[in-house]
């Protein structure tokens, strides 16, 4: 009786034998792969950790109240501080974010919510991806030609615009991806209540994507806070405090580079200190925004 289901027992022995024979080997392979992935994680973290340790080790000695609040003293004297650079970084990066974040988020909203199938959105996405990979020195040169030369001076605004160009493609990408993850059912519910599409996007979809989008903005801001090449071409760097958005200004990455290029030990020490300050600022931004985002979530479930 070949239709008798019991005849499948013919295969059960050989299946069980084969499957169980490989069992021991599979356990070993499993363990090896786990160890390998852990090793890779360590390999990824070690360079980061060693950079941080090096910066802390060399930079801590330069930190003082004077360091944080005073402009640089005469070259080689080891006096003064990097206050103008700190101030400049905050201003230029802040202004760049004010320009770049809204444009990036709105473009991301367009691509995710309003774009119909067609060549235009595809072109936008393509150019966006190209922009993400553009070398920052190229953006700096363009910023120099377009803004510095037309205004007539190295300026905050030139630096801010150049940095925002680096920022926008990152924000667009993250915003679009985050919005796409929001389930369609929420938009559907909004439609069924007779709410207009713009309101649905603004009041229902965006709030639920808020955390992801904020993270994307933080990543983008952290990235531009460390960009040096565009700043060389656009803000010049000075030892003076901020004078106006059409005037030159200093910034930390620029200052680090200039200090490192000088032959004096004291300048190098200042350089390490500046690097430490820059890293701490970016860390503070990241942690601060995470904290704010978490507080908002707790408010909802309280």
């Amino acid at each position: 009786m070949t239709d008798d289901p019991r005849s499948s027992k013919k295969y059960s022995k050989i299946v069980h034998e084969t499957v169980n024979k490989k069992y021991k080997k599979r356990i070993i392979v499993n363990k090896l792969v786990t160890i390998f992935t852990i090793v890779c994680v360590i390999a990824a973290i070690v360079p980061l950790a060693s950079i941080l340790l090096e910066v802390i080790k060399n930079g801590v000695s330069a930190i003082s109240f004077e360091f944080l609040t005073q402009p640089q003293g005469s070259i080689g004297s080891g006096s003064g501080g990097i206050a103008p650079a700190i101030q400049g970084t905050i201003i230029v990066v802040g202004l760049a974010s004010l320009i770049g974040a809204p444009i990036g988020v709105l473009a991301g909203i367009y691509l995710s919510e309003f774009a119909r199938e067609g060549i235009f959105p595809d072109l936008v996405r393509f150019f966006n991806d190209v922009l993400t990979g553009l070398p920052s020195i190229v953006i700096g040169i363009v910023g120099y030609v377009a803004i510095v030369l037309s205004i007539g001076s190295f300026s905050v605004i030139a630096g801010a615009i150049s940095l925002s160009i680096i920022m926008i493609p990152i924000v667009v990408r993250v915003t679009e991806e985050t919005l796409k993850i929001v389930p369609y059912s929420f938009r559907e519910a909004g439609h069924s209540l007779g709410i207009s599409k713009a309101k649905i996007t603004l009041s229902i979809v965006l709030p639920s994507a808020k955390n992801g989008i904020l993270t994307g903005i933080v990543i983008a801001v952290s990235r531009i806070a460390g960009e040096t090449a565009p700043l060389i071409m656009t803000i010049l760097g000075t030892s003076l405090f901020f004078t106006g958005i059409t005037g030159p200004v200093d910034a930390l990455p620029l200052r680090i580079w200039r200090l490192a290029s000088q032959p004096y030990e004291s300048a190098h020490a200042f350089g390490w200190g500046s690097a430490l300050i820059l890293i701490l600022m970016i860390l503070a931004l990241s942690v601060g925004l995470r904290f704010l985002a978490q507080r908002n979530t707790f408010k909802v479930s309280a």
Partner: protein, 282 residues
């Protein structure tokens, strides 16, 4: 035994029968019909999902759409509040006349229609970032209502009408998503009712619920029909028999038979209907 032939022959007879009876009905009292569906076709691109559907939905009653999967009952439902056309590439033609107004008329904005015809979906979808109160008030707030007193009153009344008030009245600030499945669905019903719709469309509202949750919703439907015209799509025939006053049976995009629920289930006129009701297919 081919199924095609009986349908075509019957369709012709059905059309003929409908024309004569619907005319008399129209003469008697058009007010009795809340929604008149006239020669509605629903398309997904070039594919026609529902074909020449004619149906008159009675006011303050529960009408059920039944039929096997893919028969077009959900498509038809979504044509009634112009949600069908939100799917990319989808469109519908024909007339759907609600209280004398054809909602497919060129001058009508679909968004406005959807404020008068509410919908509840198969899987409960309360807004994730909003509290229970905000969820129910969402439709009103986002359409411009600001008066806090009125909002509070409407939210309370809607939650009561959805049989959820007693369970949540002390926890209105909790997130909508913290409720159980059945409660979430009643929350969605409250949210839809807050807009004071005249017609409530329900797309398999109990499919994702457990039996107790389902029976609570069915009870709700029976209570609500005195104030709202309800059209419910269900793949559960027994539910249709329990809950509805009128039933429409669809198959492969055609409306096969429509009549009083008692008649459809006890003495169906079409052989196809009879075969579906008795579980021979579907």
């Amino acid at each position: 035994m081919a199924i095609e032939e009986p349908i075509e022959a019957d369709e012709a007879m059905l059309e003929g029968a409908k024309e004569s009876t619907s005319e008399t009905k129209v003469q008697e009292s058009t007010e009795k019909y809340k929604v008149r569906i006239e020669k509605v076709n629903g398309w997904y691109g070039a594919k026609r999902a529902i074909k020449d559907v004619n149906l008159n939905v009675k006011d303050k009653a529960v009408t059920a759409f039944i039929g096997p999967s893919g028969c077009g009952k959900t498509t038809l439902l979504r044509c009634l509040n112009r949600m069908h056309e939100l799917t990319p590439g989808a469109h519908a033609d024909g007339r759907v006349v609600v209280d004398g107004i054809d909602i497919y008329d060129k001058s009508i904005d679909p968004v406005v229609i959807r404020r008068r015809i509410g919908m509840v979906f198969q899987k409960p979808n309360p807004f994730p970032t909003m509290s229970i109160f905000d969820n129910v008030a969402a439709g009103l707030r986002l359409n411009g209502m600001k008066n806090k007193t009125i909002l509070r009153e409407i939210v309370e009344e809607s939650l009561k009408n959805a049989a959820l008030w007693e369970e949540v009245k002390n926890e209105l600030e909790k997130p909508g998503m913290s409720l159980s499945g059945g409660q979430q669905q009643r929350l969605c019903i409250a949210r839809a009712l807050a807009m004071q719709p005249e017609v409530l469309l329900m797309d398999e509202p109990t499919s994702s619920l457990d039996p107790i949750g389902s029976s609570k919703i069915e009870e709700l439907v029976r209570l609500l029909k005195d104030s709202v015209t309800i059209i419910i799509v269900t793949h559960n025939m027994q539910q249709a028999a329990r809950v509805s006053d009128f039933t429409a049976f669809m198959y492969l995009g055609d409306l096969i038979e429509y009549g009083a629920t008692n008649q459809i289930f006890m003495k169906p006129e079409k052989e196809l209907t009879e075969r579906y009701i008795s579980g021979k297919f579907g």
